[in-house]
């Protein structure tokens, strides 16, 4: 084997030969396709009207591109450059893998930090009994950490719809969290009243004055319960929770309405917003007419 022949079986010539073979394979396929139409007579409408079929046209274009590409690639200089680049591939892949793994590790780290904040929050409140402040802690944690996820900027044609949907989901979560906190507060007098009743009954047992009538126990309990409610309902804590819940409910309701409005718009159904605009116009017109009528009745 001469040096020349050795050169011929190198990777450069191998690729050039492979490309030539591929071109030779696909070329008859294109010919077969047009022959098929001619033999069967199943010609597309475009041929009937003296035009080349769209499939044929696309095929020819692709083939021309391939031929041009293979011609360039067959040149030994191009192939040499390509092979050099291919030699660097493992390095590029390794870099990409490193970036990917770094991103993953960072992402995981952030989540771990968030989870850690859950523990931090519980520590900050330092409650011994988890149920007491659990809802409050969860609400605050949600607002600080998880709510952010629903505020990631949306992209693309449907970004406004996505944003509205995410906002309504976020507001629903906030509403549920504040409602849970409010209900916990609202039911706390129940729990306390039973505790106080038990203590009172223990005292009565000690004094030997336990009532015989079962209704007396109920009366005792309802009085204690009423007292606890009166204290709770006047407290700033309750007012705050009530207002927070009402606001959260309104915000959720508003966000839900916006999503619904989009659907109603698609269905060509008038929305509240549109009807309100109309109502306002009617209201103003009616008011104007009534004023004019009054002025007309009692001219100054």
């Amino acid at each position: 084997m001469t040096d020349k022949s050795q050169e011929k079986i190198g990777p450069e010539t191998f690729f050039a030969d492979w490309m030539k073979m591929t071109t030779e394979l696909w070329d008859p396929m294109a010919w077969m396709w047009s022959a098929f139409h001619k033999t069967t007579g199943m010609m597309p409408d475009s041929i009937k009207y003296g035009k080349r079929p769209r499939m044929q046209e696309s095929w020819d274009t692709a083939q021309k591109t391939w031929q041009a590409f293979s011609q360039v690639m067959s040149e030994p200089e191009t192939m040499e450059t390509f092979l050099k680049g291919a030699g660097m591939l493992p390095e590029i892949f390794s870099k990409m893998a490193q970036t990917g793994s770094k991103t993953f590790v960072n992402f995981q780290k952030q989540w771990l930090e968030r989870t850690g904040k859950l523990q931090e929050s519980t520590k900050t409140y330092n409650y011994e009994d988890l149920k007491e402040d659990a809802f409050k802690a969860w609400t605050e944690l949600y607002e600080k950490e998880f709510s952010k996820l629903f505020h990631i900027p949306q992209l693309g044609l449907t970004r406004f719809y996505q944003e509205k949907m995410l906002r309504s989901m976020d507001n629903f979560n906030i509403y549920q969290a504040t409602l849970a906190e409010f209900l916990r507060l609202l039911f706390s007098p129940m729990e306390k009243s039973f505790q106080v009743l038990q203590e009172k009954l223990a005292e009565l047992v000690d004094e030997g004055q336990l009532p015989e009538d079962s209704k007396a126990y109920y009366q005792m309990w309802i009085k204690i319960l009423e007292g606890h409610y009166m204290t709770l309902l006047q407290s700033p804590e309750y007012t705050l929770a009530l207002n927070k819940t009402l606001n959260a409910m309104s915000e959720f309701s508003e966000a839900k309405k916006e999503v619904l409005q989009d659907f109603l718009n698609m269905l060509h159904v008038p929305t509240h917003k549109e009807m309100d605009e109309l109502y306002k116009e009617i209201y103003l017109l009616k008011k104007r007419i009534k004023d004019l009528e009054k002025k007309n009745k009692n001219p100054v």
Binding site: G208, L210, E226, S253, E254
Partner: protein
């Protein structure tokens, strides 16, 4: 042998006795609940003589000879319905007024829909109330009528009387809030920090169910538990069941409140307390309480948890009239109108007060002196519901 600390035998025997009673009661209750019940409300015959949008003006058919030439117009609140004044025959404020020979009109605010969300206090006071008053004046060929307001309707009447004093002969306010800066009532506490803009912008009108829930939360132990325990204990009593159902029908018949009216009422009254300071503006006009120069009778309940006495009593000292009277009854917000004890006193006293102010001045003076004495006696012996009366004449 020492006495046991817990008389278990007695407790158990009482329990067995109660269980037996409950069984008998349940048997009777099924007969009552499954049988015919008279639970209709607002049955006193009347005609709708004027209508504007959702608002109707009812004119009640006289039960006896009309004794006052000036009719009395009742203005109820926008919260709940005016049917409370005519809950059942024999226990009806409306019927009692008719029995006293009063020519009676009442505004029925109807059920606001979404299109009513832009209606303001101005539209209710200078619009609907004023048009109803004009209609009555024209029909009876009079220049003035007697006006009586209930709760928020009372506040509307105060505003109306300040803006149109020339059309009001006498003003009666009942459980009417005018001084909102108080921490006595839970509503006053809750409303102070409420973000009313957000709620109104979201809902348009304030849903009646939300309002009702808020009222139940004013005393959950009594209104959500004890009340129904009381029902269970008396459900074998037909009359009790009928009255209970009538009351339930009224309580949970809650129209929505027009959004803009609610916004203004909360902001100007509950949050800024403008009315009592003569700073409230209605339809571009400042409401000056000094312009209320007609006689004023102001009723309120000592145990009212919705509109506490502190929110009601200040009005008599702020108006321009020298003929004013505060009457505090030993009852709550609704008790004034529905309790048997108050029914005996409430309407006859208002009717008497109106009649006195229609009679000539000489007669009035004599009656006033004698009434003062009788009121003082009542207050001293505490045998009547009237707890406190303050006259400023």
């Amino acid at each position: 042998m020492t006495q046991p600390k817990i008389a278990i035998d007695l407790i158990l025997s009482k329990l067995a006795e109660d269980a037996e009673k409950a069984r008998t009661r349940a048997e009777k209750a099924s007969e009552v609940l499954l049988g015919p019940l008279e639970t209709e409300i607002a049955t006193t015959p009347c005609d709708v003589v004027y209508e504007e949008d959702r608002v109707k003006l009812k004119h009640y058919k006289p039960a006896t000879k009309i004794q006052l030439k000036r009719p009395l117009l009742l203005v109820y609140a926008l919260i709940n319905r005016e049917t409370m004044l005519d809950l059942q025959p024999g226990k009806s404020v409306v019927q009692n007024f008719l029995q006293e020979g009063i020519d009676l009109y009442m505004i029925d605010w109807g059920y606001p829909t979404r299109k009513d969300r832009y209606l303001t206090i101005d539209d209710h006071v200078n619009g609907y109330i004023d048009n109803a008053v004009d209609f009555i004046l024209k029909k009876h060929n009079l220049d003035k009528i007697n006006l009586m307001g209930i709760c928020m309707g009372g506040t509307f009447c105060v505003i109306y009387s300040a803006l149109h004093p020339e059309k009001v002969q006498n003003l009666v306010t009942t459980v009417t809030p005018t001084q909102f800066d108080t921490d006595q009532g839970l509503l006053h506490i809750w409303m102070k920090d409420m973000d009313v803009n957000q709620i109104v912008d979201t809902y348009g009108n304030i849903p009646g169910d939300i309002m009702n829930l808020a009222f139940l939360l004013l005393n959950p132990a009594r209104l959500m538990i004890d009340k129904y325990v009381g029902f269970l204990e008396n459900m074998d009593n037909k009359k009790f069941v009928e009255n209970f159902v009538r009351m339930e029908k009224w309580i949970f018949d809650s129209p929505d409140v027009p959004g803009e009216t609610f916004r203004q009422f909360v902001q100007d009254c509950y949050q800024k307390n403008l009315l009592i300071q003569n700073k409230m503006e209605i339809g571009g006009q400042c409401v000056d309480l000094k312009k209320i120069t007609m006689p004023l009778l102001n009723y309120y309940g000592k145990y009212d948890h919705l509109v506490p006495p502190e929110a009601c009593e200040a009005i008599t000292s702020k108006v321009g009239s020298k003929d004013t009277e505060n009457v505090c009854l030993d009852t709550g917000h609704i008790g004034i109108y529905v309790s048997s004890k108050c029914q005996k006193e409430f309407v006859p006293r208002i009717a008497q007060w109106l009649k006195e102010r229609t009679a000539d001045k000489k007669k009035r003076k004599t009656k006033k002196t004698s009434r003062k004495k009788s009121v003082a006696k009542k207050t001293a012996t505490k045998t009547k519901p009237a707890l406190k009366t303050k006259k400023n004449k």
